[in-house]
């Protein structure tokens, strides 16, 4: 059985979600499919910098100008996803004066507000900067939450009639006579909200036009359609610190280099990054030296990082694209521009467009251009409204509130929740039910989690990215089970348990690269709590063999049992009957 749609967007990253929203707002019947949860790809594994454009002001001025323009737009339409931290390009004694001047001039050329401040002023803004700071350029960088951004885009698309299908992987692109007809997808569980333990199905979706927004995976999708898309995936590492050592984005002011930026993000700070080309975006080595280098090099800029607690590290792959025959060898030289590949023009394959390259900051602009293009193909009129229309949650967003009085929440908790929820805060937090804090590290209450679960089903990682629950210093040790417990009784024990395991495993993955100092103690404590206290490493209900009752002894003999040994036999009988059950 096939379903039909006008436009089919593949990929639930910032690009895909942005396109789906734009199409839906213009009245196009749209379906978005994503193989994981939203932001499963690069969007969920990036730095969270809302570029002022300063970073590209010397090397790539076109990108820089786009960044500053788009960053202004996002501050308006996505205020609950953005924190305007401001940014600094910091010059240390070893850094070249000439480059500093070029950077400053470049910013001015691109209409990026930039001012030079002395080393002392820089240290007043960021007291943990090294004393060696010579001077700095101040630019309007910011931090953006990619998760909330994508979820808001997808939610608005849905609001306008789009179908958003996560955990649905495209397994084939259907081509007939040089024309893309649609795709075949495999649902991990059934269609709709993911539910663990539900068997998967496949579905054929026929579409008038297919948009390949799979970023670093665009080449694979291209191959399914029989065309070459030359993405050059390049990996970068990011290390998350437990607290914010800086509240401003801090960049080292020197030509491209590894480990030259610190982005304050919510409660944490993210250090980055590297740029190393990889073969396969799904399978590349994650190496400890990359993390070590991050901390060592950035300690030159902010010395306290050397002793600070690291909570996890993660890697992302840039979807860099290079037009054929450019011949660049160093990935850092590849442009950060994005490219729209019209396969009809390029490969004489109608009905499909790929979009590659670019960055999150300019996702809306990319989406606008793709949508213009798709609408032209579909013969749809209508102009883009995404630059003016606020995303859900962003309207009239104000954090000036009395949290205790309104929501019964302590002020840091109320403020964090309200910032995350934006204008949805009242709807979510005004509840008559008790509303305890479930994730204490990130101040996430039960009401906010329930709200996210209503949207995300049993996929607790999807709940996590909506709320930040389990993203703090205990990395789920103290809250993962409490979050999972909220699934019950709507979902049964086995579903809840599997959902918990998945969340906990995801948290563990990132911590493997932070196992020293305090995070090592934390990991040990978490392990003891989960494995020993909760017995989760040998949880009997989870084992396929069921419980081996005969491994237990009969307990102290009671007077009658001692006489005939009855109890022990009973135990054996129970074990036997279970075996029978398995035989069925």
């Amino acid at each position: 059985m096939a379903t039909e749609t006008e436009a089919l967007v593949i990929g639930g990253g910032s690009t895909g979600c942005g396109i789906a929203r734009d199409l839906a707002l213009r009245g196009v019947d749209t379906t978005l499919v994503e193989r994981g949860n939203l932001t499963h790809g690069t969007t969920g594994r990036m730095h969270g910098l809302l570029h002022s454009g300063g970073r590209y002001a010397v090397s790539d001025q076109e990108s820089a100008a786009e960044c500053i323009a788009e960053s202004r737009v996002l501050r308006e339409i996505a205020s609950h996803c953005v924190e305007m931290t401001g940014g600094l390009f910091v010059q240390l004694p070893a850094d070249d004066d000439e480059y500093f001047e070029e950077k400053l001039a470049g910013c001015r050329d691109c209409d990026i507000p930039a001012e030079v401040i002395s080393g002392e002023e820089a240290r007043e803004i960021e007291p943990y900067l090294t004393r060696d700071v010579e001077r700095a350029i101040r630019v309007p960088d910011g931090a953006i939450d990619p998760f909330r951004l994508c979820v808001a885009n997808a939610a608005d698309a849905e609001e306008h009639g789009a179908r958003i299908e996560t955990h649905a992987e495209v397994t084939d692109v259907l081509v007939e006579d040089d024309q893309v007809k649609g795709v075949e997808i495999r649902h991990e569980s059934g269609p709709g909200k993911r539910s663990h333990h539900e068997p998967g199905t496949t579905e054929r979706i026929e579409a008038d036009h297919v948009v390949n927004a799979t970023g670093a995976w665009a080449g694979e999708l291209g191959a399914m359609a029989g065309v070459d898309v030359e993405v050059r995936p390049s990996k970068g590492v990011m290390t998350v610190m437990n607290t914010r050592q800086v509240d401003t984005v801090v960049n080292r002011c020197r030509p491209k280099g590894d480990a030259d930026i610190i982005v304050p993000h919510e409660t944490a700070c993210i250090l980055g990054t590297t740029d190393v080309e990889v073969e396969d975006p799904d399978d590349y080595p994650e190496e400890q030296w990359e993390v070590d280098m991050m901390i060592d090099t950035l300690s030159e800029l902010v010395p306290i990082l050397g002793e600070a607690r690291t909570i996890r590290s993660f890697w992302g792959v840039r979807p860099l694209y290079e037009p054929p025959d450019t011949g660049t060898t160093d990935p850092t030289d590849i442009t950060r521009q994005f490219f729209l590949l019209d396969h009809a023009d390029r490969d004489s394959l109608a009905g499909m467009t790929s979009i590659v390259g670019g960055k999150l900051t300019t996702y809306r602009l990319m989406a606008e251009q793709i949508t213009d293009h798709v609408c032209e193909k579909l013969g749809v009129e209508g102009s883009c409204r995404t630059a003016e229309q606020p995303l859900p949650g962003s309207e009239d967003f104000s954090v000036l509130r009395d949290y205790m009085e309104e929501f019964g929440l302590r002020s840091p908790i109320g403020r964090r929740s309200t910032e995350r929820l934006g204008s949805k805060a009242d709807e979510v937090l005004k509840t008559d039910d008790p509303n305890p804090v479930v994730c204490t590290c990130e101040a996430v209450t039960r009401a906010e989690l329930d709200h996210a679960i209503a949207d995300a089903g049993t996929d607790l990682n999807a709940t996590r990215i909506r709320t930040r629950a389990s993203m703090g210093n205990c990395q789920g040790g103290f809250c993962a089970h409490r979050i999972a417990a909220l699934l019950h009784p709507e979902y049964d024990e086995a579903t809840t348990r599997t959902a918990l395991d998945e969340l906990y495993e995801e948290r563990w993955k990132g911590q493997r690269h932070a196992l020293w100092g305090e995070q090592l103690s934390q990991a040990m404590l978490n392990h003891a709590l989960h494995a020993t206290t909760m017995n989760r490493d040998r949880y009997p209900a989870a084992s396929d063999d069921g419980i081996e009752y005969d491994r237990f002894d009969a307990g102290p003999p009671t007077p009658e049992a001692a006489a005939d040994g009855g109890r022990r036999d009973d135990a054996h009988e129970r074990a036997d009957s279970r075996e029978d059950d398995h035989g069925d």
């Binding site: 305007m84 507000p113 964090r416 101040a443 205990c474």
Partner: protein, 453 residues
């Protein structure tokens, strides 16, 4: 800022409107691994359901806040600063430092509020005005806290005419008015002022009676033994002189303990400046600093360097001891007591939380159990509940008594009918809850060791 549109330029102006206690303790949150041990040891959390507990108050609140954030949750004022959480934490999270600093910021910012400022910046003067008005509602409470915290000043005023002060302070209607207008509980009797201060006595006796350049101590008497219990101060001097010490009594102000607990860090700092200057001079003079109050020794020895950055403050901290502690370290106190005896007396001893923090909670019982004629019994490790000014606040009085309940019960069960403790406010609470007379260990030492006492 060059050619930027103005609204952008404005956004990047640093907001630096009033001076704050610029202390960034967020990195301290790195040490917390969320075990909640601190919460289980907090006496206030046990009785006050509204109080979120030390873990939230300390590492969580710090981690959740942003540097430019001036919004501190008001629950911080419910912490009594007993510092039991400090001791409980297995991971050395600087909890009390976090609480003290947050409290300081809370008080500092109550006046204007960051919200009022940002409302102004957003062009909503009306909203800003409302916020300021709301802030003023907190004014009375602040005033009350300030008076309690500045016990030093009221005590100093009262000491000019102690009998009138005692009368006025305990006079029913006046107390009622205070409770109504300032929220000082009328359940408690204000401590009586002695008819002379310790310093008056010291001056009258002509200062030190022993001179000894090799054994010198500088006595930090604090407010309470100066104004209310000069007998403790006198005992201290006599015992130390008995051991051949030259006692210096440098000019001094309040240690700051009550001010920390009420977020008056500005006041505390001014007092600390005087204290550090004079105590550092005494150290220069070859003296070690000795306090008879465990909260004073705690303040000088731990809280000072945590909260203030003053010349010589680390030195002062490193040279500070509690009265009995110092003698145990430097003299054969056990030996001396082994040969002494007093007339039969039985004590119910309570270790103040601040003594516990300094590892001094067992010293009195260890020391006196071998003293002939004395029976002494520890009444357990619960908190007395008064925690300085905490139990004086009308809204905290009931909690304070609930916390103290366990100690009262144990005191009743103990054989002794006299209480003993190092801390003057614990003494008030012990007396308030049981009606016992309360003695300081130094007084017993004096009785045992100083001839003619």
């Amino acid at each position: 800022m060059s050619d930027a549109p103005t609204h952008d330029a404005d956004e990047f102006e640093p907001v630096d409107v009033f001076e704050t206690t610029e202390m960034d303790l967020r990195p301290g949150a790195d040490d917390c691994y969320k075990c909640s041990t601190c919460d289980t040891s907090c006496p206030v959390a046990e009785v006050d359901d509204e109080f979120p507990g030390p873990k939230f108050q300390g590492p969580e609140q710090w981690r959740l806040k942003r540097k430019e954030d001036h919004e501190i949750d008001d629950s911080i004022t419910s912490c009594s600063n007993c510092m039991r959480c400090d001791n409980a934490c297995p991971s050395s999270v600087p909890l009390s430092q976090m609480h003290n600093t947050a409290r300081g910021e809370y008080v500092e910012n109550q006046r204007f509020g960051r919200e009022a400022l940002s409302a102004l910046a957003d062009g909503n003067p009306r909203e800003a005005l409302d916020i300021v008005r709301e802030g003023q509602d907190g004014l009375v409470e602040r005033l009350r806290n300030r008076i309690l915290a500045n016990y030093h000043t009221s005590a100093w005023l009262a000491s000019f005419m102690p009998s009138v002060a005692n009368f006025v302070m305990n006079f029913g209607p006046a107390r009622w008015a205070m409770a109504k207008t300032m929220g000082v509980t009328s359940e408690r009797e204000f401590p009586e002022f002695a008819d002379h201060t310790f310093r008056e006595w010291w001056a009258a006796r002509g200062g030190a009676q022993v001179e000894n350049p090799d054994k010198r101590i500088a006595y930090f008497h604090g407010c309470y033994s100066n104004f209310n219990t000069p007998e403790v101060g006198k005992a201290m001097v006599r015992v130390y002189e008995e051991f051949g010490y030259e006692v210096l009594v440098p000019p001094q102000k309040c240690s700051g303990t009550p001010m920390f607990a009420n977020g008056m860090l500005g006041d505390a700092r001014r007092h600390a400046e005087t204290n550090v200057k004079n105590l550092a001079a005494a150290i220069e003079n070859g003296a070690e600093i000795v306090a008879s109050c465990t909260s004073c020794s705690m303040a000088l020895g731990q809280e000072y360097p945590e909260l203030f950055d003053l010349d010589g403050i680390e030195d002062v901290a490193a040279h500070t001891y509690e009265g009995v502690e110092y003698l145990r370290l430097h003299e054969d106190l056990e030996g001396a007591l082994g040969e002494a005896s007093v007339e039969g007396s039985e004590f119910a001893y309570h270790a103040p939380c601040h003594a516990r923090n300094q590892g001094l909670d067992t010293q009195a019982v260890e020391l006196f159990s071998d003293l002939d004629g004395v029976a002494i019994e520890d009444v357990g490790d619960s908190c007395s509940g008064i925690s300085g000014t905490y139990g004086w606040k009308e809204e905290k009085y009931d909690y304070s008594m609930e916390i103290g309940e366990e100690m009262f019960e144990h005191m009743e069960h103990a054989a002794g009918e006299t209480g003993m403790t190092e801390c003057p406010t614990c003494a008030m609470q012990m007396e308030h809850g049981t009606g016992y007379e309360i003695r300081h260990p130094l007084e017993l030492l004096e009785e045992a060791l100083v001839a003619g006492s």
